[in-house]
Subunit: 301 residues, 2 copies
Amino acid sequence: MTINEGGPQGRSPDRREGVLKSNFVEMLEARWAKGNFVCVGLDTELGKIPDTVIKRGKFVPDIIASFNIDIIEATNEYACAFKPNTAFYEAHGADGFRALRQTVRYIKRAYPDIPVILDAKRGDIGNTNNGYAQMAFEQMDADAITVHPYLGAEALKPFLDKRDKGILVLTKTSNPGAGEFQDVELGNGMRMYAYVASQVAYGDWNRNGNCGLVVGATYPAELEKVRSIVGDMPILIPGIGAQGGDLEASVRAGQDSRGWGMIINSSRGIIFASSGEDFAQAAGEEARRLHDSINQIRQAA
Amino acid sequence: MTINEGGPQGRSPDRREGVLKSNFVEMLEARWAKGNFVCVGLDTELGKIPDTVIKRGKFVPDIIASFNIDIIEATNEYACAFKPNTAFYEAHGADGFRALRQTVRYIKRAYPDIPVILDAKRGDIGNTNNGYAQMAFEQMDADAITVHPYLGAEALKPFLDKRDKGILVLTKTSNPGAGEFQDVELGNGMRMYAYVASQVAYGDWNRNGNCGLVVGATYPAELEKVRSIVGDMPILIPGIGAQGGDLEASVRAGQDSRGWGMIINSSRGIIFASSGEDFAQAAGEEARRLHDSINQIRQAA
């Protein structure tokens, strides 16, 4: 097994000749070019939806979708992506599936230029992933999905083969205990998360130029390390807001050579900014505030 | 970070004082005591369901559930567990959810002593996992779930806290490319999969005595290593049959100190043994054949 750190050679994996950018990456770049780096996390917990929305409907799928649509309307101007996490929808079984589908359909119709990242954290062996790819890209019509690296590129081929779609690989996650396996030191002195990053960038993962990585804002030093390894690949950065990630350090560490490359997610901090009737307005203000802060840090850097 | 190999100290994590066995482990032990080690993998791909079943219904959930029920009736006598993989159901969106729920409800009503393992390979950060736990244990009423280790025990607490449920951690998976990260050598000379096994057995994972591991039958040497580390913990062993796993080597390597501890899965090899009208009978015969082979190997050992 060769361990290939990539970065020091200065190669940028998404600029290799002959590798096309996925539609997902192109959509992102168009948003970044406008200065949009905020990813709105649609982690719509039913119990936190304001009463004013609950009163609108009798059925769970309609209530959840109705809330999401108001959030989408209030925040789209600042968004580089929307990111529903499947866990919050699956909790409601078939109803949740319907709510998620209604939500994505709305985005596709109203804001077709904003990519949808399905934060599903999937990963099974070969053929079995066809079922998950069908769920994410046909049932849900998402533009990208998050995946676990543990089974390796060979297992994830059904995802990686989708040239148009973004495949975002968990690298250093935002949770306090992320280091249990991700920070383990390997025989050659690299840490596991850095090895994952180098494999995704220079191993069998990114042949279609459609990969990205997930690195928590709670670990800016690791984010800087990953950026130094992967060149200009997109990095989804969760953990701002409720989880306590450091925005300034994350933007400094996360920017690519173009000042782009970041998908900075906030979920609860935006969508549940207020539990009153002004919830959508409050969400829009939070998204704008985050958008402005990111751009101030970019300009100061 | 201490690396604790456990095995050499001879401690068996599921026998530590004060640790209760989960209901899942008790259910398994009752099946093992009868000589049942076959796990019937309900990987029900719609396109492979025999015409004779397709003709029965107009609706996808009913067709899938009807096929599964025939398989359950034909194989339950030999089963230690049933294991539906969520990917095959999610591919059909809300319909698939309904098919899966109907299937598990049938097992719970007709064969309440046979545990249901939801092969969902989930794993998100802290609170988000509540949604997945709700899906698996409330919506679906499963007895156990498979999870990815990459985010660490801290992230998986919402699963691990379910004392009654089994939490089966991917350790060495059955796919050809499993080694990309799982075989990486760590600074102390251990391989990653062995470190995962030792953490699950002796770290913060198994405080409720409800953990198990997943090790592919395609890697009997690694299975032997994992068994030497984890004592009598349950090991789910997929990869027999279509994937080419070696049954004899797996049974020799996978048995615990009681001659138990194995959940030997076959999916396609059983459920799609015939595409004719005799599909259920053929499934029953395949399950019996696997059951008999396992017990012959156990007795010869």
